[in-house]
Symmetry: D2
Subunit: 369 residues, 4 copies
């Protein structure tokens, strides 16, 4: 059983993650983890902080001679910003945040945890936490890759600008996305996206969008139809909506499929040289009956615009019940290219978890037997 | 900690569910459970079987004098069809199903579990299992209702027909949906939906659609921002995509929000008489930071067309690798109104689980303290 | 991931269990389950009820053509006593039990669940529930047996009578125990145990004892040292103390080992023909570092005397706070031989769970690869 | 839901723990954590390393202004020994350990994880990991203490020396134990224990023993009779046997009770001024029906002698299958007083977990309502 927990505040000393249940014998490439952390910081329209943070993963447990041993892995990522915050953290030094910001965890968090200051809530709710998840996902992806699973993504939409995804092999689309500061493989759309982001910056507004994350090389039969909480659709959906600001998900073109007759949706089978089968299409997005069917796993995720807008938004000061404007916290204009990296990480996690369940999890050699 | 498991094959003797972790002191209304089971069988365009099955829940454990006691609840639902199938179940009596049907669990299930016959797979993968979940959900909803939570749904789309949802209070929309055999509150659209279903029947095709399920009366602070797998968005998404044929979900108008600037998406706060706050809108769909924010929880779910089409679909006989047509199994044309009831049940489950986590779970009285 | 839940009251219509996560392809022998259920009802000194109940397991889900399919298994066991109780269950027909019985769940259960009647508590707390666990364990043992694991037990002590366990191979000790109505392989002690039981019956008292449950044929490396809750010692201990009236457990002669120096406790290694190793002793009871080490897993469990004594025991009527005697409920004098069967069942469960974790769990064939 | 994971090797840079699910508003006393860490290092007969390590807990996440916020807590404990080991960790620098040591995780660990070197196994299996658990437990105990729960322990036996525990109130016994380097409240026995330890040092041997850990001030109704894995006896037993070298546990005098008739075991009820009840004895050890009954929770745990003995023990070099002696690693003679602190920590954990389940877990204020 694979499991992980993360801990850490946005302006605390560090982020920490523990992964338990990894098989022994996985030679971990730490630069791969750092590469993913760097990708999370990419993107046109990121804010000032991205220049401060140069995230590096430090593995403090679970590796001996560079390999996993079956022991839990501990990862920490230093917050370089910490030095600027340390003294502010002295009791009272930081002003209270009593006016909840629309779209943030501030209000429900204060009410849930009985706090009159939103600061402790936003420190944990911040997307900064996704750096820990990207590191966890980078480990999971290395495990999945040992079984031939490749994961990548692209940005399909930023604000109103929707890309025309060229009809190319998925790895080429990944490469095009990687080369763009919008992570969009359609350069015409990418240019329009940049203009949208510039416009949003001028109007002190923010943008969301849609990402498409895909996994290739999957074995048949990850997940199960047998019990509701073992269906892979459910686990993928949970993984996606566990990401800050991701509020919608579909496996394949689900909302489009809902409008079509079954004969145009369900993927026919064709004989294959191999003796195995081919499919006439992949509108199921790679999952049938809650299980991988050997086709690419295609997931679309909708991200809401960043909740922190430069433009004032109406709120209420909970300290006195009077109308007030939400206080501005330094933020980005658009983080969709970064979120795409987090969706890759979480998909990698779900797939690694399913591989360990299917194959058992003591050692890589045993899993491969 | 609330948990449940279901068991049962589509044509076996019965479905069984066990719910563990219910508080004591909940007076259970079994007719309410049966009412939900009947609602699951409703809808224009259901097949023959709906006339055979008149599902009734039988509680065989966990109730003393009509009240929960803290002990696990066992529910069973007899398959009235069983008498017609019992002898077929004798070894070999049922023909093997070796040609996987597109859109079903047949193919991945056979490969995962090492079977050369899809029958054991489809018997469990069938949507018949959702009857057990509706019963479980009906119990969870009674627990949630004890804390003022009301859940209902409507059908927004069947195939290409999209309803214009009238601007009415949610409970009135629920009532309109309840009165229609399409579960659609827009009677004009409902009529077009029926025509679509009739047309699909003529062309031996099937239809999917979109449902909107809503929860009212929620307390602030169910779920948590603190750890990825405790975010309520994630749990709601998992619950929805754990339902057979549901492949997409959004919390509020997530895909629409992805196209808009932040200032038009995030819900402003306004002072309220009560001293509490009002919101200028509910585009967050009732969840901020992975927690309920006191607004209605609004979930849209996309259902694919039923996978069993009367029209032949190309497949491969895995027994000989030769092209073949998928064998037709008796089925419905459209089950969106029924699926809406299952989404209500699963949402009820997630909310009951979150209430028990927040309030503790020994007795209703203790939860209310 | 293997998991199970049970439900059912002692005098309700039936017990129900659901097992989720079984691999496909296990040919289940239902008579083996019934045999275990019969063994649970054995033993010198059982009460009247054992003559009423002739437990039979009914599988209502998860088997197709006698084999598991990967789908959850549902098991139910009818309470033959039900017919005598059904009408008593009408509201108010059964007298309230307001005087908690020493050694029972009555008092903490009433307080925990906010009840002024202990009946709903004792109905679930009763050892009757162990019939469901024996059925679950009988399934788990068939899975474990497919990997060469054999489980058995004997009674080492009843009340003050402690057996001299002859120095024979474990399977012979199991056979001797099986042949005795005390489940004790030492016939001299067995006779003294019967006399103790007869004496206890005369004095309206009850007896407990000690059982030794052993598993043979275990692979090396079930469980793990890597995380506290994955240590097999912990899981075995939890499984034993989850059994009604079992209050102590040791892996090997743990309390004896605590008094000896390390050089006399730790099991030396010797070369083996096979190239593998032999051990000079098995004082570790088959577990080192939280993992099976290939030696027999030897567990001793201490059972308290049955809490329901014919002799009056002082209590307090919680309805009025006045001293009162605990009401007598029909019961046994000694159930140690029966409890031994439950310890076998729970050990079988833990080992099956560990096998599925180690080998993966889709099909028996895949587990064997 | 409260959960924790630990990570860290014995000679790695640090130990790390993450605790998820703590309520907000707990003012954490870090010196209390350090005090527990120091207690874990106490005891007559500890080895050289105890002088190197002066463990200090560093909280890197989950505290704002010294209080919990509902966010996960991250704790790290630096291994001061690391500086001496860092370069040894370079690939190959450390000699392989191919001869498994009796009583250690070496052999099953190597076989389970497919390693030909035991070093990665012993690095994680080492009791050094318990420092992380003591820190976790120290947090859990502060939560439990907020609800009036006090936890302490004493050493009852070291090797063959069994103490006569004076008939004093439990807190006085704790104080006497605290004042002794054997943690034994019977000074006569303590002196004999020291002599045993000195003798063992001379003979290059090691000793185990028995600890008694007690919790006072418990509410009635933690745990549940309703489902096997929710019985508190099971969770306490798992917590105890999850500790390195602890191999036996009993709730109250369970093995003694097994020899007595029920009328002498079960704790009678007496009326109390308060209107609540008193008990004539506490032979149930504070748990009836898997729930706390308001009496002191009394747990006895048996620790095996330390597995690393100075005296040579026969083993086999798995590299060549030849007989060899187990390599000596620096170690202690007796660690029972230290283990007692770990049993306190794990009991604290189980009780904090049960409190959160019973009371809900958003904030201390809400738990107290």
């Amino acid at each position: 059983m694979l499991r992980f927990l993360t801990a850490g505040e946005s302006h605390g000393p560090q982020l920490t993650a523990i992964i338990d249940g990894l098989p022994a014998g996985l030679k971990l490439d730490i630069e791969q983890i750092n590469l993913q952390l760097a990708r999370r910081q990419r993107g046109y329209g990121r804010g000032h902080r991205m220049n401060i943070e140069k995230d590096r993963a430090q593995i403090t447990a679970g590796l001996v001679y560079g390999q996993t041993t079956g022991a839990p892995l501990a990862i920490q990522i230093e917050n370089r910003d910490w030095k600027n915050w340390q003294e502010k953290w002295q009791d009272g030094a930081l002003s209270q945040l009593t006016t909840p910001r629309p779209g943030h965890a501030d209000y429900p968090g204060m009410r849930k945890y009985g706090l009159d200051d939103a600061r402790p809530i936003l420190e944990r709710a911040s997307a900064r936490e996704t750096a820990a998840r990207v590191a966890v996902g980078a480990v999971a992806r290395q495990l999945a890759a040992a079984f031939g699973v490749q994961i990548g993504s692209w940005v399909e939409q930023i604000g109103p600008v929707r890309a025309q995804i060229p009809n190319l092999p998925v790895p080429q689309l990944w490469a095009l996305a990687e080369a763009s500061d919008t992570a969009c493989p359609d350069e015409t759309a990418a240019q329009a996206m940049r203009e949208q982001i510039d416009a949003a910056r001028r109007t002190k507004d923010t943008l969301g969008g849609v990402v498409v994350v895909t996994a290739l090389g999957l074995p048949v039969g990850l997940g199960s139809h047998a019990q509701w909480d073992r269906r892979l659709d459910a686990r993928v959906a949970a993984a996606m909506l566990s990401i800050q600001a991701i509020k919608g998900v579909e496996i394949g073109p689900a909302f489009e499929n809902a409008a079509l007759p079954g004969t145009q949706v369900h993927d026919t089978f064709l004989p294959a040289e191999s003796g195995e089968v081919l499919r006439g299409s992949n509108r199921a997005g790679g999952l049938e009956g809650g299980m991988t069917n050997g086709q690419p796993l295609v997931v679309r995720a909708a991200m809401k615009p960043i909740a922190t807008t430069g433009a004032k938004m109406a709120s209420v000061n909970l300290a006195d019940g009077q109308p007030a404007y939400a206080e501005y916290q330094r933020s980005d204009i658009c983080a969709v290219p970064a979120a795409a990296v987090v969706t890759e990480a979480m998909l990698g996690w779900v797939l690694a978890e399913a591989l360990v369940e299917k194959l058992g999890g003591d050692s890589l050699a045993e899993m491969r037997r």
